[in-house]
Symmetry: C2
DNA sequence: TCAAAAGTGTTCGCTATACACCCATGG
DNA sequence: CCATGGGTGTATAGCGAACACTTTTGA
């Protein structure tokens, strides 16, 4: 018999912070899932997450989960919705505060966690435990909205990247195609990119300019309130 | 001594659903606040809200609170953020799932609640209990974002309204001024409005057309994905 | 007759979009 | 020399922004 040593006058739900971790493989948007080692849904894939501690905020809990799975401390992370249907966990009532994080796949180390984690392209995600399918769908919707207000894509690319990579990323997130020249022009005019001296030599191709994200310009622009139109 | 009859193996936070209820008085955006009758923060103004029941979702809880304060069952309501700092309530750990609701002030009846409720223009809101100032500010930020994706303003106006009223509402929410002719043209071109036969005679003024919101057109537009630019 | 607000249409500038040719590289 | 992809500029259309005069009404 387990010891039930926390007592309340009224019933309290358990609260978790779960993390939809997005990465970009150069072509497709991927999400990091973990295989559940225990019931319920043992053997099913699920979003990384766990109960929050009583002395940490949900954000801190989500960051803790993120670091456990990826080794990353400072990734972009953002709360997007809280899921509270009474029966969403068969054991007891669990409320989940959901975050999405954007990381560079190349920087992700295997987690401390015993649970095995794996990247899945968004169009090859298996059926997930609990209501995590729904959480993942909602995360994508929010990501697509957010991209109009913040240049979040840069969090998913290496520090230096080509314009083509950036275009592919935006196309993957928004599921559209852009004209190459128009995309180049729009991005350069925005002033969020710094063109580097270096070029990169691509396989069997002409060499391409490298860019990096110009955070100073971004902060300035954000003050004035800007929007990315697509 | 109170009876502590709910027992858990791990500590659980309490969870509330709080509601930022916005109304429009024709000139300014207002928010409905209730005066706290008990400690902590007794006598301070606060957002309506309360603990969620174990058999209802947070949304149901928020709607229940909304109805208690306003008598309204079907208002526009939307979750926008969950607040989880460990010390935000001095009594015990409380996590708050926050919603904002848009209502017509004229349809609001006095609440069932003993607590007295009062409308405050946004620029005359007193210091609030707990971290409710922060919650209110965040609600405004979200409302301003959301207005680009949904014609939420219509929820705040009477069923029939003049173009000038609509303009005043948008100006109040976004805190900008629009050119009257451009605003008229843009709104009419969008196709979200139905012009009515009736006109309304204004005090000491020329009579003005009345419009109502065309929900069929809106649903159609929404399918295709539209954005309101301002 | 005056003040206040409503109705209405045009012009201009900018931005989004569509689109084609040349160059460098490696095989 | 050919295939692949990178780099670059222009022309057009549509939209947003600026803007003025007339009409109605009641005081």
């Amino acid at each position: 018999m387990e010891e039930l040593k926390y007592h309340y006058k009224y019933p309290h739900p358990a609260v978790t912070a779960d993390c939809v971790i997005f990465g970009f493989d150069g072509t497709k948007l991927n999400v990091l899932l973990v295989e559940r080692g225990i019931e319920p849904f043992k053997g099913k894939w699920a979003l990384p997450g766990g109960f929050i501690w009583m002395d940490e905020s949900a954000l801190e809990g989500a960051k803790r989960e993120l670091e456990e799975e990826t080794g990353l401390k400072d990734a972009y992370i953002r709360q997007f919705h809280t899921f509270s249907e009474p029966k969403r966990d068969p054991r007891e009532r669990v409320i989940t505060i959901a975050y999405y994080a954007l990381v560079r796949i190349s920087e992700v180390k295997g987690g401390d966690d015993a649970a095995k984690a794996q990247w899945f392209p968004l169009d090859q995600v298996p059926a997930l435990a609990f209501d995590h399918d729904k959480i993942l769908r909602e995360a994508m919707t929010e990501l697509r909205k957010q991209i109009h207000f913040e240049p979040i894509g840069f969090e998913l690319l290496p520090e230096k990247f080509t314009m083509k990579q950036l275009q592919h990323l935006y196309e993957a997130i928004l599921d559209v195609r852009f004209d190459r020249r128009n995309f180049y022009n729009k991005m350069l005019k925005l002033g969020l990119l710094t063109e580097l001296e270096e070029k990169i030599k691509l396989v069997n191709k002409k060499e391409a300019y490298l860019y990096k994200f110009n955070r100073e310009n971004y902060d300035e622009l954000k003050q004035k309130g800007f929007r990315l139109e697509f």
